[in-house]
Amino acid sequence: MTSTSVRRHKATGLLVLLAALVVTGIGYTAVTTTAEAAPTAASQTQVDAGRQLFLQGCATCHGLAAQGTGSGPGLIGVGAAAVDFQVSTGRMPLAAPAVQAPRKPPSYTAEQVSALAAYVASLGAGPAIPSASDVSTTDANLAEGGELFRTNCQQCHNYSGAGGALSDGRYAPSLMRATPTEIYEAMITGPQNMPNFTDATLPKAQKQAIIKYIAHLQQAAAPGGLALGSYGPVTEGVVIWVAGIGALLLASVWIGAKVR
């Protein structure tokens, strides 16, 4: 809706020119400065590749050394999990400044995401990407997961995981497409408005139970028929007024029609 109007805006040409200048300038500095990050567990080549990607795609907002700028937070110490969550769900890089980064198709391949994650992890210690055994739910208890979900998650994400509104246009996103790894990463990194659930507040076993419950929500059958987007009584009210009263008005017009 807005893409054409944005393109035709008076200031667009000027902004594109500015952006091009900024990118060229940053690209130039990126080429001339020397890397000083210490190699970690990830291979040095991966970190180097990640650094290149970072300088091209992320440094504009997050700063050349990931120290943060006025337009983006510093990333030293956020860990690989945060990068993996933000980039693999397409939230980063941002398409446009907004109150909140929406989920969208990712801009980087899985390989590039790991390279970026390796680079950011090399800057300072932070939560690592959870392993397959971390997010395994085989030993988790579904009902306990439900209880934990109702206590910790649904006040923002809705009882059904459909998401909900927060103040000033911010929102808790729908969980319907979140993978177990993404859920785990979100809990340990606290992206955007979400609080951080460290292992001290929510032990790993409880995180796994929550993941199991969300997986149940994602594929739960609706025993009562159409779930109406799981929005609750508002959509039920719309149904009764539009479909219900609508149908009965038609019926009464039909029965009350004069026979001539």
């Binding site: 209880e147 509104a165 609750g232 009584p233 508002v234 149904v239 009764i240 009263i245 009464s252 029965i255």
Partner: protein, 555 residues
């Protein structure tokens, strides 16, 4: 055949010896009711109420109104081993382990939404056609009371399962009760038998929901219908319909068949919706725990306007002698609903006072002919609609990506700006329609046929309207606005109650001052004569020129 007739009449006479069956039937079965589709709206409410009674009985067989904590081990796995109240666990049982239980529960809940919606649509019809005027004011009050009681009854039913969503609603109600100055806290402790939520609330609410309120509603429904019977049904204006007759069909067999059929239509539509669309998935909400809440917590639609008012009100509080008074809860959730619903009940009396109209009305008003009343109605609906929208502000924010703070601010401005605008627009619109009616009576309808006469003049042929249309338009009763009295009489003595009389004259002028007067009989006759005189001249001219004469001119 004759044997059957003989046996039937024998049985009837035996019955008649004990109760006046046939004389009552004779007197009432042939009672005439007028026919119109909008007269069936109240029936939707009546039938929904019957459906509620039938399905409600089924649900009481398994529902346990108890707040005793139990550990769930029914067939819904995601709640296995969770501690919950017996009320919630028995509702889960009805939903998953009782045959047909979920369907009946959903029919019951959908029928409740229907009941409230149908009562309100029925009220619109009564309001906009002025059917509440003398002698039916009492029936308006009964109907309005049923809407208010239905609201409480619906809320009680929504709360009984003791699921997380309803528990949040009950918590809000507890907060509203507590917000009443001085007595609030005591009242809350009285209702809940101690601190919220306590152990008494669900059993108390149950008695209220299945015994007390349905009993009151049933009595009011009966009274409502008896009064409809006693007053005779109002009718729309039309040829042969006057304030002193009823034109229509007999109760038996016409309306018994229509009404009987309509009951099954209502039951059928309710059951279809209940079979295909989820309502109140209590299993997904989980049991009520006071420290839990879900995003998007919402009441059923008929409570939405109260929630909308509560959400829009600015955060005002004051502290008097160490006691906090939460105006932000007390005013929007207790005072305002009281004023609004009180005004609703009092409306027939307010209008009668303003218009000074003391006559009986059995012929319905056309909404355009009561421009100010119609405008008041659309104004109120606009006000209500804005509040309903604000009640759902978080859901709208989520669904349409609008910050809900913006919706709240829109509401705070719009509740004051939009209703008056709608009032003015509706009133203009109605007055325009009155003017159009007058034109139609005097000059007929423009046919769009242009005729060129032999001498070169162009005329447009006007088609006179049918007698039915004429009768409908002529049903308008012109009422003069009350003139304000002189401030003093000829001796210079002040008129008693002058200010009140002047105020009333102002209101009366608002109601009737701008009404377009119906044409007088003389005006109609003159217009007809004028049309005919012209027509005759034109017919002659066309004849002389040897042209075809259009049918409209020779009528």
């Amino acid at each position: 055949m004759s044997v059957i007739v003989k046996e039937a009449s024998k049985a009837l006479s035996r019955a008649d010896e004990r109760a006046p069956i046939s004389s009552l039937a004779k007197a009432n079965l042939r009672k005439i009711f007028p026919d119109h589709w909008s007269f069936m709206l109240g029936e939707i409410a009546l039938y929904s109420f019957l459906i509620l009674l039938l399905t409600g009985v089924y649900l009481t067989i398994w529902f346990k109104p108890s707040m005793t904590e139990v550990i769930y081990n029914g067939s819904y796995a995601p709640l296995e081993g969770i501690s919950m109240s017996e009320a919630y666990s028995s509702t889960l049982k009805i939903s998953f382990d009782v045959r047909g239980g979920l369907l009946i529960r959903q029919i019951h809940h959908w029928a409740a939404l229907f009941f409230m919606a149908a009562m309100i649509v029925h009220m619109f019809r009564i309001f906009f056609t002025g059917a509440f005027r003398k002698p039916r004011e009492l029936n308006w009050v009964i109907g309005g009371s049923m809407i208010i009681i239905g609201l409480l009854e619906g809320f009680a039913g929504y709360s009984l399962p003791d699921d997380l969503l309803s528990g949040v609603g009950v918590r809000i109600v507890a907060g509203i009760v507590e917000s009443i100055p001085v007595v609030g806290t005591y009242l809350m402790f009285f209702i809940f038998g101690g601190e919220f939520p306590g152990n008494d609330f669900i059993p108390r609410l149950y008695t209220f929901h299945v015994l007390l309120v349905p009993g009151i509603l049933l009595a009011l429904v009966g009274l409502h219908l008896v009064l409809v019977f006693y007053h005779k049904h109002t009718q729309y204006p039309g040829p042969g319909r006057t304030n002193t007759n009823v034109v229509g069909f007999p109760l038996f067999p016409v309306y018994t068949a229509k009404a009987g059929g309509f009951f099954f239509v209502v039951f059928g539509v309710t059951t279809l919706i209940a079979a295909f669309v989820t309502i109140n998935p209590i299993w997904a909400y989980g049991p009520y725990v006071p420290d839990q809440v879900t995003a998007g917590s919402q009441p059923d639609w008929y409570i939405g306007f109260l929630d909308g008012m509560l959400r829009a009100f600015p955060p005002l509080e004051s502290n008097i002698w160490g006691h906090t008074i939460s105006w932000n809860v007390f005013v929007p959730a207790a005072v305002m609903p009281g004023i609004l619903l009180g005004a609703l009940l009092a409306y027939p009396f307010i209008e009668a006072w303003v218009t000074g109209d003391r006559g009986e009305h059995h012929l319905l008003d056309r909404p355009r002919n009561a421009a100010t009343r119609t405008a008041l109605g659309t104004m109120t609906i606009t006000f209500y609609g804005i509040l309903v929208i604000n009640g759902a502000n978080d859901i709208i924010a989520q669904a349409f990506g609008i910050p809900f703070n913006n919706i709240t601010w829109f509401t705070r401005v719009a509740v004051f700006v939009l209703p008056p605008l709608v009032f003015l627009a509706t009133r203009r619109f109605c007055l325009g329609l009155q003017r159009r009616d007058r034109e139609l009576l005097l000059h007929g309808r423009e046919s769009g046929q242009i005729l060129r006469l032999p001498h070169g003049e162009f005329i447009e042929i006007h088609t006179p309207i049918s007698n039915e249309e004429k009768a409908v338009i002529l049903s308008k009763v012109d009422i003069a606005a009350i003139e304000p009295p002189a401030a003093t009489d000829e001796n210079g003595v002040a008129t008693p109650g002058y200010k009140a009389l002047r105020r009333r004259a102002k209101f009366s002028r608002l109601f009737y001052g701008d009404n377009v007067a119906s044409p007088t009989a003389a005006e109609i006759a003159a217009a007809e004569h004028h049309a005919h005189a012209l027509d005759d001249l034109e017919v002659d001219e066309l004849h002389e020129a040897g042209k075809d004469v259009p049918a409209q001119l020779t009528d």
